[in-house]
């Protein structure tokens, strides 16, 4: 088993954090191997943002993701850039708050999940938790790590005082996935 996942959007959306949380869930709470990489801006600051995670039962030699099994996109630019790279039959999770519907051609070869992720987070109180909503969606859809592992990893990472919000955000993502 080897699954490659990519989370892409804009700086400030917390996708790097989401990627790390997912990777930590895999690392600390499963027997699987995990690597996580990310893209950086010109020196290291700002701009577009992308986190990749590989979770595998084998040793992970080559650590980069080229054709993800799963793609989460939370900005239009990211969608435009990465949709094509997803494997045939792969899954794409789209934050419809910021991203236009997936073009017909792509939606035929992919499993497309569309949900207003950021709007949902705003509804819960703070848009900053959109990354965790996305994570809930992702975990529920893929089953790549156990849900309680994911929640534990979320709680390990998020700032004190935001635990409840983030739990709710995760749950909202899970709900959304179930509802689809």
């Amino acid at each position: 088993m080897r699954m490659e996942l990519r989370l892409a959007g804009e700086g400030g959306q917390g996708l790097i954090t989401a990627g790390i949380i997912l990777a930590e869930a895999g690392a600390k709470y499963t027997d699987l191997n995990v690597v996580q990489t990310q893209s950086y801006g010109p020196e290291s600051r700002g701009g577009a943002s992308r986190a990749d995670v590989i979770i595998s039962s084998d040793e992970i030699d080559y650590p980069q993701v080229k054709n993800p099994d799963v793609l989460v996109v939370m900005a239009q630019e990211a969608s435009d850039k990465y949709l094509q790279s997803v494997k045939n039959g792969g899954t794409v999770i789209v934050d419809t708050t910021y991203v236009k519907p997936v073009p017909e051609a792509e939606s035929q070869r992919l499993k497309v999940i569309e949900f207003p992720i950021s709007a949902k987070a705003r509804e819960l109180g703070r848009e900053i938790a959109a990354n965790i909503v996305a994570l809930g969606l992702l975990v529920e859809t893929t089953g790549i790590v156990p849900k309680d592992a994911a929640v534990a990893a979320v709680l390990d990472r998020v700032p004190k005082g935001t635990e409840e919000l983030n739990k709710q955000a995760f749950a909202a993502g899970v709900e959304a996935a179930k509802a689809l």
């Binding site: 990777a23 995990v34 893209s39």
Partner: protein, 382 residues
């Protein structure tokens, strides 16, 4: 939910964990992508461990400060990337000449000049060897995983202390920024070495003795403030550490300085051998590139190509002996994939001589060489 022993650690973070485990107590640095996380983690963790972190005004000062701290007795480190590594060269030479144990991390990015700061490269491999003026040997280690970033940092400190020399830890951006699941060795599993101290009274202490110390040519090192009142200079000096203009003494000292490393290649040169026994085509790869190579070897074996990999863990001194073994196996080719213009091809060729073709694969612009690219080179070679 029950956690296992593992952690998700970034390469740069693992360097800091390894360093502190090895006894690091002083870090001086200057931020530069993609090494900055090393400084940042040191800033957070060193004072907790009772150590000191300081951000200096530049890389030159950082290199100087770690030399000073090391002479005062603390295990010391700095970290940088290409532009900063260039700036450190003069004082790195001072550390070599003063025989000052310390660790210098270079997380490589695309050069030359400012280049592509966030893109991966292996373009400073020859610079690590030859970047400072004058004849000097250097020890350089190159991890290919986050775990190894930890263990080789410990090793780097051990070598620095045992051989009284700066050790360069050469990461590439890929390994520096990679987060990977690791289980770190426990304190008990770690071997941590400390510099040898003089066991003579101060009047008899020769900080640059020709013939003292556990390892021949490596004199014991006192620390400032312990009463030895010794002198350290970048000028060519005699056994007592004071400048000499006597060519015979100078020649001896300069040779000792080089030979304490070059004559200990056996101990210093570490390699990983991967499916080498019966290999008909051998990949010589290091750092992140070795991960692609390992995948390529597995894929090649899967299609019936007898592939293997020799991975130098020690980059300098050069792993000549291991390559001679490879040569003895008369492979059809040695493939050298590097994220540079072929910097280690020259020494590999000079070992392989006329008998084994050496095939470089090079990329300059910050893209990791892929397993597919290596595999297709192998297919062509056999």
């Amino acid at each position: 939910m029950a956690k296992n022993q593992a952690r998700l650690l970034q390469g740069n973070e693992a360097v800091v964990e390894g360093a502190i485990a090895a006894g690091l107590r002083f870090f001086a640095g200057y931020p530069i992508t993609p090494s900055t996380e090393i400084a940042e983690h040191c800033a957070a963790k060193l004072p907790v461990a009772g150590g000191k972190f300081i951000q200096m005004e530049d890389e030159i000062a950082s290199m100087a400060a770690i030399c000073g701290a090391s002479l005062a007795g603390l295990k010391s480190m700095t970290a940088t990337s290409g532009p900063g590594f260039s700036l450190k060269q003069e004082n790195l030479g001072f550390a070599v000449k003063g025989e000052i144990p310390c660790v210098v991390v270079n997380v490589q990015r695309v050069g030359p000049s400012t280049g592509m700061p966030t893109s991966t490269a292996q373009g400073d491999v020859m610079q690590a060897r030859w970047g400072s003026h004058g004849d000097h040997e250097i020890v350089a280690l190159c991890p290919a995983s986050v775990k190894e970033a930890f263990t080789l940092t410990v090793e780097a400190f051990n070598i620095a202390e045992e051989y009284r020399t700066p050790v360069v830890l050469l990461l590439d951006e890929t390994i520096g920024h990679l987060r990977e699941k690791v289980i770190l060795p426990s304190k008990e599993e770690l071997v941590v070495k400390d510099r040898e101290k003089p066991n003579v009274p101060p009047e008899q202490y020769k900080p640059f003795a020709m013939d003292q110390g556990r390892i021949p040519g490596v004199p014991p090192l006192a620390a400032y403030g312990e009463g030895f009142k010794f002198h350290v200079t970048g000028l060519t000096h005699g056994e007592d550490g004071f400048p000499t203009g006597n060519p015979a003494i100078a020649e001896k000292q300069l040779r000792r300085l080089n030979e304490k490393i070059s004559s200990n290649k056996k101990a210093l040169c570490k390699v990983e051998k991967f499916f080498l026994e019966d290999a008909e085509v051998v990949i010589f790869a290091y750092g992140a590139t070795a991960r692609s190579a390992r995948k390529a070897v597995r894929d090649a074996r899967a299609v019936g190509i007898k592939a293997g990999m020799l991975r130098p863990i020690t980059i300098w001194p050069f792993v000549e002996d291991a390559l001679l073994e490879v040569k003895a196996g008369r492979p059809k080719a040695v493939i050298v994939p590097e994220m540079n213009l072929g910097q280690l091809v020259l020494p590999v060729k000079s070992v392989m001589g006329d008998s084994v073709p050496v095939i470089p694969i090079n990329k300059l612009a910050g893209q990791l060489i892929t397993p597919e690219e290596i595999l297709s080179a192998m297919k062509e070679a056999v």
